[in-house]
Symmetry: C2
DNA sequence: GTCTATAGTTTGATAGAC
DNA sequence: GTCTATCAAACTATAGAC
């Protein structure tokens, strides 16, 4: 049964995420993971050929979760309202889990580059985001860049200075309006 | 001569920064540092009682460099122009050296918290920045938070997506105008 | 597929001679 | 103050029995 093996693999990845949440993404070790899974450390090599392969699988699962959540949204017709709902979901997702935010949106593991298959989900997320921004009226590359940087800055400030709070995140909607209302070439009136 | 010792300590810290620039801040090892300094690894313990103490000294030196550069600016009288010049210098400093940016503005070393003395310079930098923002007209805490997050977001996006370029950094002045012209409670006219 | 055993490496830190 | 020698610990990864 190949299905049995896939379920087991998924359970190990889930346990790895649990552990990363406690120990930090960089503090994840195969010994620790084996302990919570209930096997000996070498047995994990039956499911992942290296530690990098484990990170890669975690990266893929995390991005697929994000993609599912974004695709599950029932967005309003108004492009601006839709963008706000989309980005609020994105920010919530990022702030829910610091370890996940680090592995998905930063590069905290030296030498780790996600494989093409795992990267695919991340690319899809980015494409959806840019499509939403464009639909809301920001077509200039510089405007899109600034918008993306702003959202990333909010997330980073919130996660590192006040995890669990909303001191920064609560300004998201206002800032979205600000950016949409002031494109680079735009006139205020 | 205690002076001789201080000079040697400073030289070791400088070498550590050189090495961190090559190997990454997390890849810095005492053995590697000893090699480039020209001594054996245990000899470093004559100058730093632990690796954390070395990081702490590096953190302090980096922040003092930033403080010197900011204090050395001859700023225009106009508060808005002054803020732009101040922040441009800050962003340049952060983007000059990725390892330095990581140690100073992120927390890439697990378990490392700068000591009070080293933290002092960092606090002074932040205070100066907030004073500049306030002088330019943003007095609301939420406005200051958003401004700081925006600058951090620009730096992070630039450093991680296009090191050495200016695709994000070049929008700094325009975004400063945008934030100053649109305070939370403000009216456009 | 899981185990025991261990190789092989790297690291921070200490002891003690000089 | 610098050295040699070494400890003690952690980790990833592999070999081979069952």
């Amino acid at each position: 049964m190949a299905q049995r093996r896939e379920e087991r693999t998924a359970a190990i990845i889930a346990a790895a995420w649990d552990l990363a949440r406690e120990e930090g993404i960089g503090g994840l070790t195969l010994r620790g993971l084996a302990r919570v899974v209930g096997v000996r450390q070498p047995s994990l090599y039956e499911y992942f050929e290296s530690k990098h392969a484990l990170y890669d699988a975690m990266f893929a699962v995390g991005n697929r979760q994000l993609l599912e959540r974004l695709d599950g949204l029932s967005l309003p017709d108004d492009p601006r309202a839709a963008l706000k709902a989309f980005m609020a979901t994105f920010v919530d997702f990022a702030l829910e889990d610091d370890a996940r935010q680090q592995l998905l949106f930063q590069r905290p593991i030296v030498g780790f580059e996600p494989g093409a298959a795992s990267y695919d989900a991340a690319v899809q997320v980015l494409e959806r985001g840019i499509a939403m921004i464009t639909a809301a009226g920001l077509t200039d590359q510089g405007d899109v860049d600034c918008f993306v940087a702003m959202v990333g800055g909010l997330i980073a400030a919130q996660a590192s200075n006040e995890p669990g709070g909303d001191r920064w995140a609560r300004h998201l909607e206002r800032l979205i309006d600000l950016y949409l209302d002031n494109p680079r070439q735009g006139r205020t009136r």
